[in-house]
């Protein structure tokens, strides 16, 4: 049975998850996000039912929420695959170069730039991003991830970022990918 929601919670949640580029609400998010996350947790079922009436599905992942429109028009298959490849490449790059990359991890952009310096694999990956130098391109990558809500700039002066809970959204797709290992190859990572 739906219960009453606190005043303004549904409006705040809807606006937060539909406007701008950051479409995630992380439990360790910046500003008022963490508090909003806790409030939504306390009334999750009611929020879900009310949002369903508005045509949105409230998706709850590991310590994060996002919305999916029930009227969302289907995207082309090749576009979806392209997006998946981009996501996998981004997470693979970050996991390779940041120790313990995952929810709550702090990392320094400066140290990351130093680690990828003269790494041909990293250069190939960063070629798709804007900037003259690898440092600029890395900045473009990180700004994009920050805009989308996967990381947050924890300390602008020291150029430190924190990985937000929304990263589990990407990890979920990674977990579902299964590799068909050929005989004689390394660990079967499924």
């Amino acid at each position: 049975m739906p219960t009453e929601l606190p005043q303004g919670l549904l409006r705040e949640l809807f606006q937060r998850l539909t406007r701008g580029d950051n479409l995630f609400l992380s439990s360790n998010g910046p500003g008022s996000d963490a508090a909003l996350f806790n409030r939504v947790c306390a009334h999750e079922e009611t929020c879900r039912e009310r949002l369903l009436e508005l045509g949105y599905k409230l998706v709850q992942g590991d310590n994060h929420y996002c919305l999916v429109s029930l009227d969302e028009s289907p995207a082309a298959a090749d576009y979806k695959l392209e997006r998946l490849v981009e996501l996998v490449r981004q997470v693979s790059f970050l996991s390779r170069h940041i120790e313990n990359f995952g929810e709550g991890t702090f990392f320094s952009q400066t140290q990351l730039a130093a680690r990828i310096h003269a790494d041909p694999g990293a250069e190939r990956f960063l070629a798709a991003y804007k900037g003259e130098s690898n440092a600029d391109k890395l900045d473009d990558l990180l700004r994009g991830l920050e805009r989308r809500g996967y990381i947050d700039e924890a300390d602008a002066a020291r150029r430190e970022y924190k990985v937000l809970s929304a990263i589990h959204y990407l990890m979920g797709f990674i977990d579902r990918l299964q590799i068909n290992e050929e005989e004689g190859e390394g660990d079967a990572a499924s």
Partner: protein
């Protein structure tokens, strides 16, 4: 802690009591008489110094036998890092001493009084230390999980904590069984011993519950670490497959991609100062901007959100690319506001309100802002604006 560091630590105490304190700490597993101390180290500890330590609460006495106060012992262990991690060896030793003294009590009537005192002391010491050991274990587990940067080392440490936790749990159970079943505890009438036994049994129950929680937490951490390690290995492998163009052939990527929905499919949002109806009439304008910014609609119709007048501004890319506007601005000589007033866009000239909005957006654009030199104020009709020179003398 090395020998010199131990010397440095004990140097904080006065010379007289210092030697006695060090000796009692060294032999803290048992109680001592003054002549025991002298015999062990062939040095006489001044009785006055020992009394000073008793008065200060460092030592406690029972029928002429002395030992460190449990709190003092704990403090010294922490300071000298002699108490790292769960002291399984210590608890095991106390259990063995307990079993020895209960046998002494049973077999040597002449030593029963002393045996009872030792047993009482052991019970009290166990109770004091056990809670601290369990707390230390829990803290060490959380600390290693949070701070150890290497996944392999983290897994090893957690596994070690798991083994230690299980071993500590076994000792707790053994000690509890001894307290309940040993003939000494079943038959003794010594009120103080019985009281300490009850308190220790209560502490053992609490420790048992805490250790179960700790075991569960360590198991959860281990599962997460192992899952993360496996995921990282998988990610590296997936990255290699993508590089070798084998991603779709060697994985179920097509199936997973088909399930993509929600934020994963939303590359970016844009906003425009142009009339939404004009954008509806010219969908190619949106595609053109997205292409300029390196994105595409993916064959989907863009969702349009019309904000109320008093809505907070979106953090989104404007449909008018600020980079292109600024490049064009620098190629000519008018100041920024005048330039925008005659700027030709897809929709023709901008209205005054659109000029003002775009002017403000450009000045607040974090990438462009550092390159713009703000000059003196000027007026244009109802608006007063700061002039922005396209060719500043101190260009960045």
């Amino acid at each position: 802690m090395g020998k010199t560091q131990e010397d440095a630590f004990f140097a904080v105490f006065m010379r007289g009591p210092r030697q006695a304190l060090r000796l009692f700490f060294k032999y803290r597993a048992r109680s001592l008489r003054a002549d025991d101390v002298a015999a062990l180290e062939q040095e006489r500890c001044d009785a006055v110094d020992i009394q000073r330590l008793q008065a200060a609460g460092f030592l406690e006495s029972d029928e002429g036998e002395l030992c460190l106060d449990p709190r003092a012992e704990r403090f010294l262990e922490d300071m000298l890092q002699a108490g790292d991690g769960p002291q399984l060896g210590w608890l095991r030793e106390q259990l063995e001493r307990l079993e020895r003294w209960t046998r002494v009590h049973q077999d040597k009537p002449e030593l029963r009084e002393r045996a009872a005192r030792e047993i009482g002391r052991i019970l009290r010491s166990c109770r004091t230390h056990l809670r601290a050991q369990v707390v230390d274990l829990q803290r060490a587990v959380d600390y290693d999980f949070r701070t150890e940067p290497q996944i392999e080392a983290k897994e090893l440490k957690l596994q070690w904590h798991l083994d230690s936790c299980q071993a500590l749990g076994d000792l707790v159970r053994t000690l509890g069984a001894t307290l309940r079943e040993d003939p000494f505890f079943v038959t003794t009438q010594d009120r103080e011993v019985l009281q300490r036994r009850e308190r220790l049994l209560a502490e053992l129950t609490r420790a048992h519950e805490s250790l179960i929680e700790a075991l569960q937490r360590i198991s959860d951490y281990l599962n997460r670490v192992r899952r993360d390690a496996a995921r990282i290995r998988k990610l590296l492998r997936l990255g290699d497959l993508i590089e070798r163009m084998e991603f779709t052939a060697r994985t179920n990527a097509l199936q997973v991609a088909d399930d993509l929905e929600g934020p994963a499919l939303r590359g970016m949002s844009i906003h425009s100062v142009l009339d939404p109806e004009r954008l509806d009439e010219h969908p190619d304008w949106v595609e053109r901007v997205l292409k300029r910014l390196g994105h595409r609609t993916g064959g989907r119709k863009a969702e349009r959100v019309i904000l109320p007048v008093d809505a907070e501004p979106l953090d989104a890319e404007p449909i008018i690319d600020p980079g292109e506007v600024l490049e064009a601005f620098r190629r000519q000589d008018k100041d920024l506001f005048a330039f925008l007033s005659v700027l030709e866009t897809e929709d023709g000239l901008l209205t005054v309100d659109q000029v003002v909005t775009l002017y403000c957006n450009l000045l607040s654009n974090e990438q462009a802002g550092g390159y713009l030199d703000i000059g003196p104020m000027k007026e244009a009709g109802a608006w007063a604006y700061a002039t922005v020179d396209p060719h500043p003398s101190n260009a960045h």
